[in-house]
Symmetry: C2
Subunit: 134 residues, 2 copies
Amino acid sequence: MRIGELAKATGTKAETIRYYEREGILPAADRTAGNYRDYSNEHLATLSFVRRARGLGFSTSQVKELLTLSDNDDKSCSDVDQLVRQQLKEVNRKIENLILLRDELSQMLQSCEASRIGDCQIVERLAQSPQVWR
Amino acid sequence: MRIGELAKATGTKAETIRYYEREGILPAADRTAGNYRDYSNEHLATLSFVRRARGLGFSTSQVKELLTLSDNDDKSCSDVDQLVRQQLKEVNRKIENLILLRDELSQMLQSCEASRIGDCQIVERLAQSPQVWR
DNA sequence: ATGCACCTTGTAGCAACTACAAGGTCAAGC
DNA sequence: GCTTGACCTTGTAGTTGCTACAAGGTGCAT
């Protein structure tokens, strides 16, 4: 299949696929007589894997690692497990930070509500300290 | 104050401050006889504002908007409110996605636990469809 | 006058794409 | 057989928000 078809099948832009090839994430495809890339079902499977892992927040280098790990089956399981665990930790960290952030933002909005009659405090809140800003 | 002092006071690298100046986020400072940047307390307040807003996940262009909004006091409150609301929505979206992601990752780990004796399913799970990957 | 911390500008790098530009290929329609 | 249009090729530059040099200037203490 040609790059456009693969792109459609995986929801990836053709340019991104070429980028993955340049970066060694996706193996290079065969070429047709007219120098078009010609992808196999293995490519399709690999690219799906890559997109899914990226969607789960793995970096491209982690994805590369996952790919090589899944190539040699023995011993790989604990390494893969390790990577997933690390990623899970990272995700939890992000969630916690975002929740703090959400709380701050909604407090800002509430302080705006509260002072409908006067002028809202959002800018002051952002400026944080009670000094007049500008 | 010189750039290093401002940097220390706000927890920003000097290079980042110069970057903000180039990008028009922070107004240019006066210069000393020796061509060093010489910052005022207003700069300090503005930079604190910028860092705080960035820390809350506002993009640099949103920060610029917030800065200009807070410059002309009238009418600004509802616009600021709007920006904060938008940001809050975005943050909630991110949190939801991350929670989905977390669930998937921990399910992966559990399927690994479950099949201690056999080989773990993580790679298969990533590959998603039951086709053999590679 | 010499060392050192600090400053200046300019440029390049990071991640992970995305967006051109300028040109080649291929099938369909007239 | 020739054109049109969709698709493909390579290469390069842009995006966001910094960060990291390199090569040189300033300011102050010893």
